[in-house]
């Protein structure tokens, strides 16, 4: 993973993390989540490829598998007890760019993420930038 900060609020890293995403609806009307890989990641947003397109403004439920991120969670960390759960966040789609082969590049920002988890994500990302 390599870092890029440019003029952004959060540092980005290139990341090929496994993710699952699905358009968010209330009341369990969500369809089955789609698996794909992230392209880059920051504590403020994510870029990923998707076989499904989204509209700008769509709210998407995202699960990101980031092994080891749980060490930075605010609760007391115990290696043998703490589970490596995925990061779960709601993101707002900023753009969806069609690529070749029916794939879309989705840029999205985190709008619904637990404050403690966002801080943990920022610390996790910082490990790859120093």
């Amino acid at each position: 993973m390599t870092a890029s900060s440019e003029n952004r609020k959060f540092t980005r890293i290139k990341s090929g993390a496994s993710i699952k995403h699905v358009k968010f609806y209330l009341g369990g009307r969500e369809s089955e989540a789609i698996k794909s890989l992230s392209k880059n990641l920051s504590a403020g947003g994510i870029l990923f490829d998707s076989s499904k397109s989204y509209q700008a403004g769509d709210i998407v439920r995202l699960e990101i598998d980031l092994p080891g991120w749980e060490k930075f969670k605010p609760e007391f960390y115990k290696p043998h007890l703490s589970k490596s759960d995925p990061v779960i966040a709601l993101v707002k789609v900023i753009r969806a760019v069609p690529l070749k082969g029916g794939v879309y590049e989705i840029g999205a920002s985190f709008v619904g993420i637990d404050d403690g988890h966002q801080m943990a994500l920022a610390k996790y990302i910082k490990c790859f930038t120093t």
Partner: protein
């Protein structure tokens, strides 16, 4: 504190504008500040202010004043959010403030049946504490009605 007796129950007292309500302690998972980041959900019923992500769990948050038709100032509607859990359903209720926990005996609760002006169909009992009248509401029914409404919409 003494263990709870079989004829006793505990409630969390809260208020909305100048009206007082109670919710069973057993249903309350936690109480959070109202200034947390709520994500508005498109096509949700008007009484749902949005959803909040609490440690990875996405929880719908209900504007209780709107649902109960209580004329509360916008700034007083969501100073606290009571996160309640019922039978695999977790819902947040926006309230003006949380007062305290009371341990009560069942004899203190009056049925709402005889009242001409019940708050609405969700009232399951009325309790007088000091000079205040508390309405005990069926929050599970409120939550399931709203979530069902969300499914339909």
């Amino acid at each position: 504190m003494q263990p709870i007796q079989s004829n006793e129950f505990e409630i969390v007292e809260f208020f909305l504008a100048n009206e007082y309500y109670g919710i069973h302690v057993a249903s309350v998972r936690e109480i959070i500040r109202g200034n947390c980041s709520l994500v508005p959900v498109p096509d949700a019923p008007a009484v749902i202010m949005g959803v909040v992500n609490l440690r990875g769990k996405i929880i719908p948050v209900v504007d209780l004043a709107e649902h109960m038709h209580i004329n509360a100032q916008q700034k007083d509607r969501a100073k606290r959010i009571i996160i309640a859990e019922f039978n695999k359903m977790t819902v947040g209720f926006c309230v003006s403030g949380v007062t305290r926990v009371h341990r009560l005996s069942r004899q203190q609760m009056e049925s709402s049946d005889g009242l001409i002006q019940t708050k609405n169909a969700y009232t399951v009992g009325i309790i007088k504490i000091e000079e205040r009248i508390l309405f005990l509401l069926d929050f599970e029914k409120i939550a399931s009605d709203i979530i069902n409404q969300a499914k339909i919409s």
